[in-house]
C-alpha cells in the first residue's frame, strides 16, 4: 500500500507526466483568515498512466487539478510537467471541467472546432476534424445544436471532444460524469476507455465514486478530508485491459480492492462530513 506516494518524480529514468511534490494550497478568506485546503500533497502520474483521485467532498480535488493545469499556483511545493517546472498555464494539458464549460453561444461543432482554430488551423479544416470527433463521441448529427439543446450526457461528450481534438499529452478530468445517471455513466466510462486506449495519454481523473475510479484507472489515489488534505493512500489496480466497465465490476479482484480502499475512505468521508457540518 501507499507505494506511489513515495515514488520519485522519475520512473525508469523517464520524466513523470505530472509530478506534484509537497504541494500546499492556502486560500485567503474574505474575513481575513487563511484556509489551508491542501498540505504537502505528493502525487505522480507517469506518461500513459490513468490515475484516479478519490476523496470526500471539499477535500481539494478540484484545487489539485487546477494546480496541475497551471490555472493557479500552489502556495507551497512544486509542479513538474514532463520534468519541467510549471510556471504558467499548462499547455500540454486538456481539462474537462466539473461545471458546464462549453461556450453557450457556439454550436456543438463550433465548440469542438474552437480549440484547433485558436491554434491557427484554418476554419474549414478545423470544422471537418471537429465533425469527425463529434462522430467519434456519438454525436455526429448534433453538430448544429447549441449546448442548451443537448442533454447533460451529450454536453459532456461535446466537452470530451473539445478537449481531445487538441490531442493534449495530459488529460485532467474533474468528476466529468458526476451529474449523470448510472447508465449514462457506464456508457461514458466505456467511451472514455475506448478513446484513451487509442493513444494512452496520462490521465488524472477526479471522482467521488470509488467503483468508477477502480473500474477506469491504473492507480487509485485517496485524499484525506480537509482542511490540510493530503494524499493518504495509493493503490495499483490489478485488472487487465482493455476493460468493460460493467464486466470488470464482477471480477473478484475488483471486490477485494474495493473493500480494502473503502475501509480507509469511509473514515475520511465521515471526517469530511463532520467538518462540513461543523462549519
Amino acid at each position: 500500500m501507499a507505494e506511489g506516494a513515495t515514488a520519485t518524480a522519475r520512473n525508469n529514468g523517464q520524466a513523470m507526466a505530472v509530478a506534484l511534490t509537497g504541494v500546499g494550497v492556502a486560500f485567503r478568506l474574505a474575513g481575513g483568515g487563511v484556509y489551508t485546503a491542501v498540505e504537502r500533497a505528493t502525487l505522480n502520474v507517469a506518461d500513459g498512466e490513468f490515475v484516479a483521485i478519490v476523496g470526500p467532498t471539499g477535500c481539494g480535488k478540484s484545487t489539485l487539478l487546477n494546480i496541475a493545469a497551471g490555472l493557479m499556483p500552489p502556495s507551497a511545493g512544486g509542479v513538474d510537467i514532463f520534468g519541467t517546472s510549471l510556471a504558467a498555464l499548462n499547455r500540454q494539458a486538456g481539462y474537462l471541467f466539473q461545471a458546464d464549460a462549453l461556450f453557450p453561444w457556439k454550436t456543438a461543432l463550433e465548440n469542438v472546432a474552437i480549440g484547433l482554430e485558436t491554434a491557427g488551423t484554418p476554419q474549414a479544416e478545423a470544422r471537418a476534424r471537429a465533425q469527425s470527433w463529434l462522430t467519434r463521441v456519438g454525436l455526429g448529427s448534433f453538430g448544429d445544436r447549441y449546448p442548451h439543446m443537448l442533454s447533460g450526457g451529450q454536453r459532456k461528450r461535446v466537452g470530451l471532444a473539445q478537449v481531445l481534438i487538441r490531442d493534449p499529452k495530459i488529460l485532467l478530468m474533474d468528476e466529468p460524469f458526476g451529474p449523470l445517471d448510472a447508465q449514462t455513466r457506464q456508457i461514458m466510462g466505456n467511451l472514455l476507455l475506448d478513446l484513451w486506449n487509442a493513444d494512452r495519454k496520462a490521465v488524472l481523473f477526479v471522482t467521488h465514486d470509488l467503483e468508477e475510479a477502480i473500474a477506469l484507472s491504473d492507480r487509485v489515489v485517496i485524499m484525506s478530508a480537509g482542511p490540510a488534505a493530503r494524499v493518504i493512500g495509493d493503490w495499483r489496480v490489478p485488472l487487465a485491459r482493455p476493460r468493460d466497465i460493467s464486466e470488470v465490476r464482477l471480477d473478484p479482484a475488483f471486490h477485494e480492492l474495493h473493500r480494502e480502499i473503502w475501509h480507509m475512505l469511509k473514515a475520511e468521508v465521515i471526517k469530511g462530513y463532520a467538518q462540513t457540518e461543523g462549519v
Binding site: 499547455r91 471541467f97 464549460a101 485558436t118 442548451h148
Partner: protein, 262 residues
C-alpha cells in the same frame, strides 16, 4: 383555437374601450356628458384626424424625422455604451475612478438636459439625438459592463485551457457574452431612443411626432393630441416587433424563457 381565442379577446378589449369612449363623450347621462368632448375628443374625430394625416401625406415626414432621430440615438448610444462598457470592465481601476460620476449622471433626470442640448445643438434633429443618446448609452453601458464581468469563470478557464490568447478571449468569450446582455436589453434601449426623440421634439422642434402632438396641444386640438398618441403607439409597436425578430435571430443559442433543459 387558443390563439384565436386570445386574439378575439384582445380585439374585444379595444372595441369595448372605444365604444365606451364614444358613448361617454357623445351621449349625456342624466343631462351631463361624463367626458366633455373638449377635453376627451371622441373616437370619430381622432380617426378622421389620423386618416387626414395619412391621406395628405404630412405624417410621413414627421414619422421619418422621429425614426431617424431614434435610430441615430440608438446607434450612437449603443456604440458608445459598448466601447465604454468594455473598457471599464477590462480596466477595473478606470471603472473605480469614474464610478461615482457615472452614478451621478445616470441619476440625473435626462429631461433637464433637453434645454441645454437645444442651446448647444439648435432646434434640428441633433439635440433630440443627443437626448436619446444619454438614455440609450447608460442602458447599453451597464449591460455590456455586466456581461463582460459576469462571464462564467469556468467558461473563461476553459477558453484559456483551449489555448485562447487575450485577443481570442475578447472575440470568442467577452464579446458574445456582452452582446447577449446588450440584446437582452434591446427592447428597453430602443424604447428609450424613441422616448428621447419624442420628448426632445415636444420641448422644441420643427418636425416629428412630438412636434405634431405639441402643436395640437398648443391650439387645444385634443383630437390632434390623441391622434398623435395613436400614431406614436403604432410606430412603437412596429419597431418593437422588428426588435423581437432581430432578437430571435441573434440569440438563437439561448434557451427561451421558461424552457426547461431537455
Amino acid at each position: 383555437m387558443r390563439r384565436v381565442q386570445l386574439i378575439v379577446l384582445q380585439v374585444l378589449v379595444a372595441v369595448v374601450s372605444i365604444a365606451l369612449w364614444h358613448a361617454l363623450t357623445t351621449y349625456p347621462i342624466f343631462g351631463r356628458t361624463l367626458l366633455p368632448p373638449f377635453f376627451f375628443s371622441n373616437p370619430l374625430d381622432v380617426a378622421q384626424q389620423v386618416v387626414a394625416w395619412f391621406a395628405s401625406g404630412v405624417i410621413w415626414k414627421h414619422l421619418w424625422v422621429t425614426l431617424i432621430e431614434a435610430l441615430l440615438a440608438f446607434v450612437i448610444g449603443s456604440v458608445g455604451g459598448v466601447l465604454v462598457g468594455f473598457w471599464f470592465a477590462r480596466q477595473p481601476r478606470v471603472a473605480a475612478v469614474f464610478d461615482p460620476y457615472v452614478k451621478m449622471v445616470n441619476a440625473l433626470p435626462r429631461v433637464v438636459l433637453a434645454p441645454i442640448f437645444t442651446l448647444w445643438l439648435g432646434l434640428g434633429i441633433w439635440s433630440k439625438v443627443a437626448l436619446g443618446v444619454t438614455l440609450v448609452f447608460f442602458i447599453v453601458f451597464f449591460n455590456v459592463y455586466q456581461g463582460v464581468k459576469e462571464v462564467s469563470p469556468t467558461v473563461l478557464a476553459n477558453a484559456r485551457m483551449l489555448g485562447m490568447s487575450e485577443r481570442q478571449l475578447m472575440r470568442h468569450v467577452y464579446w458574445p457574452s456582452a452582446l447577449s446582455w446588450m440584446f437582452s436589453s434591446l427592447h428597453t434601449s430602443v424604447g428609450f431612443a424613441v422616448v428621447g426623440a419624442v420628448v426632445g421634439e415636444y420641448l422644441g422642434s420643427a418636425a416629428g411626432l412630438g412636434y405634431l402632438i405639441q402643436q395640437a396641444e398648443g391650439v387645444f386640438d385634443v383630437a390632434g393630441v390623441f391622434a398623435g398618441m395613436f400614431v406614436l403607439a403604432a410606430f412603437v409597436i412596429v419597431i418593437d416587433t422588428l426588435v423581437t425578430m432581430v432578437e430571435k435571430r441573434l440569440l438563437v443559442w439561448r434557451p427561451a424563457v421558461g424552457e426547461g433543459r431537455p
